[in-house]
Amino acid sequence: MTTRELQICKRILEILHDLDGGQANSLDIHAEIGGINFCSSGEFDAALALLDRKKFVVGIKSKFKGVMWNISDAGEAARLEMR
């Protein structure tokens, strides 16, 4: 993982942690971490896919809201290590 990827992943995990067990759509997460000015949609989607592959986040598909993401216990542990 590059430093840049790590930075984006860390921000995503922080936002999901702040939801305190809640879920958020990927667009909402992208908006919360600073939007297009912080990272492009490609970078963001890649970072989210990476977190998903490592099982740090859990995505649940819904009919109208897209995929809703929440942080897993492994994600919480990773977030603390990334500090």
Binding site: E14, G21, N25, E32, K65
Partner: protein, 187 residues
């Protein structure tokens, strides 16, 4: 960002509130609507807590726990509603502007979301929007400055050339044509 404590330490069983949040995430929309109406109804908190215990085996012992959960559920509902609107905006923009790249669609969806959050008083996201606007303006300003610098250099280069070809009418004619091209290119 302030550190939020987890309800339970790693390896320990989840708290009742955390269990309820996990159950809530998996509930279908109908069931969520039922429980939301229960929370807002005149049914006492004690009875609601007893119903939660019967149906989900989740024992909330105090009203405060239920209040915390209701506040959390309300936040989640707002996020769900925002997610629906953003998805819908993305779908609409993609169909209205098939020539737009994913990046352009995403930028517009986020911009609309920022404006909406500003209008509804979500200042955290509103602040992010302001920062985003400022960054965008700074970028435009830098681009203009760069363009201006480029124009000055090109024009002074052309003017310098003119001083060297004063005595050559053929070169003068070519110079006039070049000057016109440079003027057009740097406009």
């Amino acid at each position: 960002m302030s550190e939020k404590l987890k309800a339970t330490a790693a390896g320990q069983p989840d708290s009742e509130l955390t269990k309820l949040k996990a159950v809530w995430r998996r509930l279908p929309d109908d069931a969520r609507a039922y429980w939301s109406s229960q929370f807002a109804s005149e049914v006492s908190q004690v009875k609601t807590r007893a119903e939660l215990l019967t149906k989900f085996k989740i024992n909330l012992r105090f009203d405060k726990q239920l209040n915390q959960f209701r506040s959390w559920a309300q936040d989640q509902e707002e996020r769900d509603a925002r997610a629906e609107r953003m998805q819908e905006n993305e779908r609409r923009l993609k169909s209205e502007h098939p020539d737009w790249t994913l990046e352009e669609v995403r930028a517009e969806v986020l911009r609309q979301s920022y404006l909406e959050t500003l209008a509804t008083g979500n200042f955290k996201l509103g602040l992010a929007a302001r920062k985003s606007d400022i960054a965008e303006q700074a970028l435009k300003f830098d681009q203009e400055k760069f363009k201006e610098g480029l124009r000055t250099k090109l024009e002074s280069g052309v003017a310098e050339l003119a001083t060297h070809i004063k005595s050559n009418p053929k070169a003068q004619a070519a110079y006039e044509a070049l000057k016109a091209e440079v003027k057009l290119a740097t406009k």
